[in-house]
């Protein structure tokens, strides 16, 4: 529910965008006098696709995000897009696989990436979970990633139980490894050490943000928008825990 709380707090007084699945909250509002579009994936107990009722990014959510972002691009005013990220996972189910959930998520990533290339500042604000395919579809194409500092804010490729099964380890073994291997950890400080975040922020009430919390986060969003100086994702490179990513690029350029 954090995603919805932050969406409501940041988009107070904004105009809702209609014609989207109920599991999406999208609204056009103001940030420091600038028109922006806020986007969030939220729980929908009546979702026609049963495995996407708890805020997961499924078929309707992927295609719906694509539609909402494409609509913003079509307006031509390059308004900033603020993706509020609280996505527990992609939807896991037979219907989802059969109907091509990968293509729905590709559509969302495609739209966010094209918006960024077209000059829309794209910011992802992580207020809860940012898991795997769900994050790839909603947030990971942003120019700037901002995370609130809280144990409930986490980024990962797979839930612990499944990750343990796939890597043939127990959950305890997995947790022990995560403590010493930063990219495997689930906490936001380890994630921050990879250099992918532009900023982390502490707020007083992450579940129900106070007026002061909202003001601080809004300021940070405004600063992030101002800070954007290129349409690519190169701002994520440079951390020592991600040194190989830069090294490989340098070698490729030399040998190209």
């Amino acid at each position: 529910m954090r995603g919805l709380q932050w969406f409501n707090a940041l988009s107070a007084g904004a105009t809702p965008v209609q014609g989207l699945p109920d599991s999406l909250q999208v609204a056009d509002g103001q940030l420091n006098g600038q028109s922006v579009r806020f986007l969030a994936v939220v729980t929908d107990p009546n979702n026609r696709f049963a495995r996407a009722r708890n805020g997961e990014v499924g078929l309707l959510e992927g295609w719906g995000l694509a539609k909402a972002v494409d609509d913003a691009i079509a307006r031509g005013d390059k308004r900033p897009l603020i993706a509020i990220v609280d996505v527990p996972s992609q939807a896991y189910g037979r219907r989802e696989e059969a109907l091509g959930i990968h293509q729905a998520l590709a559509a969302a990533a495609d739209s966010y990436a094209r918006a960024r290339l077209a000059g829309h500042p794209v910011i992802a604000l992580l207020v809860g979970k940012a898991m795997s395919g769900a994050f790839l579809a909603h947030g990971y194409q942003a120019n700037r990633l901002i995370a609130l500092r809280d144990p409930g804010v986490m980024v990962h490729a797979m839930g612990k139980a499944s990750a343990a099964r796939v890597t043939l380890r127990s959950v305890e073994e997995l947790e022990a490894l995560a403590a010493s291997v930063p990219p495997m950890a689930y906490d936001i400080d380890s994630y921050a050490s990879l250099g992918l975040l532009w900023e982390t922020l502490t707020v007083s009430q992450i579940e129900q943000p106070t007026a002061d919390d909202v003001a601080r986060v809004s300021d940070c969003l405004v600063n992030a928008i101002k800070d954007i100086d290129s349409a690519d994702l190169s701002g994520r490179l440079g951390a020592s825990n991600r040194a190989a990513s830069s090294h490989v690029r340098q070698l490729l350029r030399e040998q190209w």
Partner: protein, 280 residues
């Protein structure tokens, strides 16, 4: 039967041989080859033996005389999973191809996708690299087609299935599988009734290459034959951008999904009819 003798399996080739098989004879040049030993900095400390190319081959060359970069994933190393180094090789190659185009060099790209997605031993760095790959495909695609090939036998899963969905064209064989979530993970998350990861015919019927092609989620369905795959990729590279990018058809897919009764469990024929209508 005699025809069978003349065919050479593509699926049986390793990543390096696949890249060579697609490029014009004598033009294959590998970047960051295995002798440079640029390996994963994260695997040994977890008791996993790293590989000298980290399971990804980047090759430049030409196809029908056109400048091409191929990124081929080696499905036999760690299930084709992408870690920091392998992921950066693919992303970096695509970024340079886009830069080429901005400098007037029409470099195209082919992705040979045999991958389970993120390498869980490098979890968040694999995920970040895949986001970079998505970004780079969308960027390069503005100038030149990006061709994805899923030949098998690993298939294409996780974040890299999203990459497949971003490609200008997708080529599949009967051996191919394409899906967001691996069967084991769906079974773990949703239960055996939802998805039986050991039922291979069931899994191929929903996510196999033939079904994906017949549902309009892939563009070419080819035999496991080196010559046919080479000719198909070559033709697509020369074709330019598709009329409409599949990942930009939100209105179409939302309308189709709105027509579906999502209550009963789904079968392959329903998907084909829903997405292809009278064509299926």
């Amino acid at each position: 039967m005699t025809d069978w003798l003349n065919k050479h399996s593509f699926v049986e080739l390793g990543a390096r041989q696949r890249a060579k098989a697609l490029l014009d004879a004598g033009t294959f040049r590998e970047l960051i080859d295995p002798f440079q030993r640029v390996m994963s900095p994260w695997l040994s400390r977890q008791g996993v033996v790293p590989q000298a190319d980290d399971g990804v081959v980047i090759a430049k060359g030409s196809v029908a005389g056109l400048p091409v970069v191929i990124a081929a994933i080696e499905g036999n190393f760690q299930g084709g999973s992408l870690g920091e180094v392998g992921g950066a090789k693919i992303a970096g190659a695509l970024e340079l191809a886009a830069e080429d185009n901005r400098n007037g060099i029409p470099t195209r790209a082919v992705l040979l996708l045999e991958t389970g997605g993120v390498r869980l031993q490098e979890a968040n760095l694999g995920l970040a690299a895949i986001a970079d790959i998505h970004a780079a495909i969308v960027d390069l695609r503005q100038y030149q087609p990006v061709i994805g090939v899923v030949a098998g036998s690993v298939g294409c899963f996780g974040g890299m299935s999203i990459a497949a969905g971003l490609c200008s064209y997708l080529v599949v064989t009967r051996e191919a599988r394409l899906g967001l979530n691996g069967p084991q993970v769906i079974e773990q998350e949703a239960g055996l009734d939802e998805y039986d990861s050991r039922d291979r015919p069931f899994i191929w019927s929903l996510t196999g290459g033939e079904q994906r092609f017949n549902s309009g989620l892939a563009d070419r369905y080819v035999a496991d034959d080196v010559v046919q795959i080479q000719q198909t990729v070559s033709a697509l590279l020369q074709q330019g951008a598709p009329e409409q990018q599949r990942s930009r058809r939100a209105d179409f897919y939302l309308a189709r999904l709105a027509e579906l009764d999502a209550t009963p469990q789904i079968d392959p024929a329903t998907v084909r009819a829903l997405y292809q209508g009278e064509r299926s």
